[in-house]
Symmetry: C2
Subunit: 340 residues, 2 copies
């Protein structure tokens, strides 16, 4: 943070379906409606960003960090990382590395954002690979779920590191004291699952984390657990399965509720209730997937996020900075290393 | 099948939450309401089954296959397999192996049913391990999903075998011509995912199966694919995630729809529509998880299945027998072996 203890948040002006409009509208919403004292910047092509900021009356409040190019959604991440070194993500990550800004928020290509952030910011001591995480809806508000796709194969070491990262994040960004950590498995009994899990479980049991043991897919949405850890393949499949089921149910509901006059009238009367259900399950409510384990704060917004969703991602970045997520994670990894 | 081409279906009279009542009520429903010519038997303790059949007026139509004991839901599968050799599942599997019956249906402990069936019936030529599969709801009616928990770790060979088993099942039991087979992955592009998947994908591409490539979690519920293949860890997590989300959505909906007078009135008017949504997503509608790859037909009913759900499992067994699933799978495995 700056010397005045003010979080300095840099937004990627490109990337995502509605950039730069969604990005800047969300920024304007954050500046006008929240009590944050954070300082904001937007990174990208000046000729695009300057008039867009002016049109929103934000020219005086928001700094432009110029970049010569940007990564398009159609660019292959591996190639974009090497060939577009003056992209807004590259420039933004370097600005965070150099201490000019505290956090980067981007709705750009996840693979490229992850690879560039890792390359430029590096990982924290004791952490082999960064992780991608998401808050998913649950009966008690939400469950923090990681890894959701950054690491296809995970060793027992990686699972333990994910548990530390997830626990630190919930404490720092959401203020959850002593978060309950579970390992995603195919049964709750000890000794279930893959060899990797069987080695990770006792290590977590002996650690200072609040490890509650194995949890199942159903527990993700319950009030049993706060942080659920798995490898990125399983996490990605679970997350997309969740989206698929939600779409199927809400789609079926919509069809059924317009099938007869009585149902239509019913739908009309219960419209507010149905809308609240949709909002509770909406990814934009839970937008802002933090990239964890990096020596710098990076938050990924969903590429299709609306203004409200992108504003959530900005809020996540502010909370991570203000709560000192990086310092907390370094400390927790030290405690973990001493205990082993 | 018997010489008269009549399917002979043996039900496990024990196992499951409501046995033997649910089992026998479902059997009665099948006998009275369906046009099946199948012959039925129930396997288990005579002193329990005899009066229960009599009370339902089924004594003359249903044969009792006596067993000396049965496996309780609290028995550890590994121990039950070895110590309870006169259990209803053991006796039933032996009766199928010896050709006295064509199929065994059980709502008992999944682990025990799988282990005993494998031990007694063995796998088909070319198939290393049996699989557990399930039909899950989708916009086009359903997607056949395997493995859902029998095999935690799968090699590329296993994934290919699962694809053959799933494709044969859909053709035989559901009459789907040339089912579209997909590999569950974290992206649809070639070269995504684990090493195991990267090896399995080109082999499926070259096979005679209708392989459409990688699919994602969201595709499970779409009309893009008929059979989705993954290892048992991923499948089990996806299935339980699906259940968890559905419960969360329907629970939230219920709460919201009783929150105000207008919503209550709305819920009343749309009651039929909401009920249809629930039915469409109900596991009992899709009950009957076939154990595939065995040299004999075994169908697992959900332990908590109601009469309607258990009756679905009986129907699945009848269709598998009548369509010659075993012979079809042997033939498909031969074609696969010749092509390699």
């Amino acid at each position: 943070m700056s010397e005045q203890n003010i979080a300095r948040i840099l937004l990627d002006g490109h990337g995502g379906d509605g950039a730069p409009d969604v990005v800047l509208d969300a920024l304007k919403q954050t500046i006008t409606s929240s009590s944050t004292k954070a300082k904001f910047g937007v990174c990208g092509l000046v000729e695009i960003l300057e008039p867009a900021l002016k049109a929103r009356g934000l020219s005086d409040q928001v700094e432009i960090v110029p970049s010569a190019e940007f990564i398009e959604m159609t660019d292959a991440p591996a190639i974009a990382v090497r060939r577009k070194k003056q992209s807004s993500i590259h420039v933004g990550a370097r600005a965070v590395r150099d201490g000019d800004w505290d956090a980067l928020v981007s709705a750009g290509n996840t693979g490229a954002l992850m690879a560039i952030s890792k390359l430029i910011l590096k990982t924290l001591p004791g952490i082999d690979r960064p992780a991608l995480a998401s808050m998913i809806p649950a009966v008690d508000g939400g469950t923090f779920f990681l890894d959701i796709g950054a690491n296809v194969d995970c060793s027992s070491d990686h699972l333990v590191q994910l548990a530390v990262m997830g626990s630190c994040y919930l404490q720092a960004a959401e203020g959850v004291e002593n978060p309950r950590v579970g390992l995603l498995n195919i049964g709750t009994e000890e000794g279930k699952g893959t060899d990797v899990i069987k080695v990770a479980a006792p290590r977590l049991q002996e650690s200072s984390l609040n490890f509650i043991g194995n949890v199942e897919g159903t527990d993700l949405f319950s009030d049993r657990v706060d942080v659920v850890v798995c490898d990125g393949f399983v996490g990605n499949v679970a997350l997309k399965t969740m989206e698929g089921v939600a779409d199927l149910i809400l789609g079926t509901l919509k069809k059924e509720l317009t099938s007869s006059l009585a149902a239509k009238a019913g739908a009309l009367l219960s419209r507010k209730a149905l809308k609240r259900v949709k909002t509770a399950l909406s990814p934009s409510e839970h937008n802002g997937a933090p990239l964890l384990g990096l020596n710098g704060i990076v938050v990924k917004s969903h590429g299709g996020a609306d203004v409200r969703g992108y504003a959530c991602a900005i809020e996540v970045a502010i909370r991570e900075v203000e709560a000192g997520l990086i310092e907390r994670t370094i400390e927790a990894m030290n405690i973990m290393a001493e205990g082993q």
